[in-house]
Symmetry: C2
Subunit: 87 residues, 2 copies
């Protein structure tokens, strides 16, 4: 499945959620990650996000789109990321 | 089609792109909008974004997902927006 994660967290938590998301997905814009995940990877990422954020303050939205053809992505302006392999 | 817009623009342009996106979509998080658009609305929004931003600096990503069932949305933590009608 194709996954998009957008987050709005307290500044002091940003580095850790950035680091976490980078293990699974591609950074494409400030607080925005995307990429292909298996169901197991999606469960693992979701679980780790819940452990990491303060759910009474922070907000993380995860969009799941079945199959890569389900979504068309269009960038207007600068493409900030280079879609190399997830490291 | 279901559309997600995420933007990273120079601060002075944020109010205008916020106002523009509000005419078409629901605000769900800082710099993140979502909602259902017709093909004509999508064309009109895309055109207005191109007119408004500095494409040599700003970055706007538009995800288009065909059909509302194509995407599942999950919020972890705070749901910052109330999905009332687009005003």
């Amino acid at each position: 499945m194709f996954v998009i994660v957008v987050y709005d967290t307290l500044a002091e938590r940003n580095p850790r959620i950035l680091k976490l998301c980078r293990r699974y997905l591609h950074w494409v814009q400030r607080s925005v990650f995307q990429g292909e995940l298996s169901a197991a990877q999606h469960r693992s990422l979701t679980h780790s996000i819940k452990d990491l954020i303060d759910t009474s303050y922070d907000s993380v939205i995860i969009y799941r789109i079945q199959g890569p053809h389900g979504v068309q992505t269009q960038t207007i302006g600068q493409r900030l990321a280079h879609e190399g392999p997830v490291i």
